[in-house]
Symmetry: C2
Subunit: 130 residues, 2 copies
DNA sequence: CGGGATCCGGATGGATACTG
DNA sequence: CAGTATCCATCCGGATCCCG
């Protein structure tokens, strides 16, 4: 690629480093959709173990995508939020969704639900705001 | 998520199924940047083995992202191209690149090279065409 | 050149049990 | 609720050799 010749890594390689661990993308999506607590992230993911979830959250925090807030100590209450940087992933998530929704290989998305889901993503991700 | 309640999978889950595997994103990027041959994909990836590359190409073909063209039989010459669907990933790739380039955590991209790389991606991915 | 077959190691992640 | 500690299965992928 031309990028390498200028002496820097291709940004796509950097991006892959950030997102190729399992569950990472879904966790970011979940935070856009309002999930904050450790347990919430596991609700619709029966095979996301404590260990892996804990690892992912730490990694994402170390990479500056999310931040951890200890809200209360007894009972323990912790919240995870997207950082300002993390929120800039809204367009990536949106384009991923659009790619699938507009893909004829996924007929489960039809005229009955497609536009609704698009609107849901568009509003939730605030695609036009940033 | 609200999506699940409408009876369909979240499109992000579907997207993750497509791109989870190692090298997939880079291979798609490479094809946007003109690479076509088996060997070309390995050039800047010293640890992408024949086996894994072969697997990835087959998977991507099965998923309708790329197509295989046997150009010549002796000597063997095969080309891999993005399908019409695959080409619609241009915006996903673009947004991934932009996210990294505009991220202050990657100071290797500075005023000297950032705009150049952005232009390169914008032109190569033809972001405004589709 | 474009792969297939085998072999094998390390990394990843899931299950379970336990703790503050 | 939010994790930690262990154990274990699997899977993924790299190396090597081989073939048309």
């Amino acid at each position: 690629m031309t990028v390498e010749k200028s002496g820097v890594e291709c940004p796509i390689n950097r991006a892959v480093e950030l997102f190729n661990k399992k569950w990472t993308i879904q966790l970011i999506r979940d935070m856009f959709f309002g999930k904050k607590q450790f347990k919430e992230f596991q609700e619709d993911k029966p095979d996301l173990s404590n260990k892996v979830l804990s690892q992912r959250l730490k990694e994402m925090e170390a990479k500056g995508l999310i931040e951890k807030r200890v809200v209360n100590t007894s009972p323990v209450s912790t919240e995870y939020h997207l950082t300002e940087q993390g929120q800039k992933l809204n367009k990536v998530i949106y384009e991923l969704a659009i790619f699938i929704l507009d893909n004829p290989n996924y007929p489960e998305y039809n005229k009955n639900n497609k536009d609704q889901i698009k609107e849901l993503f568009k509003n939730t991700l605030k695609v036009n705001d940033f």
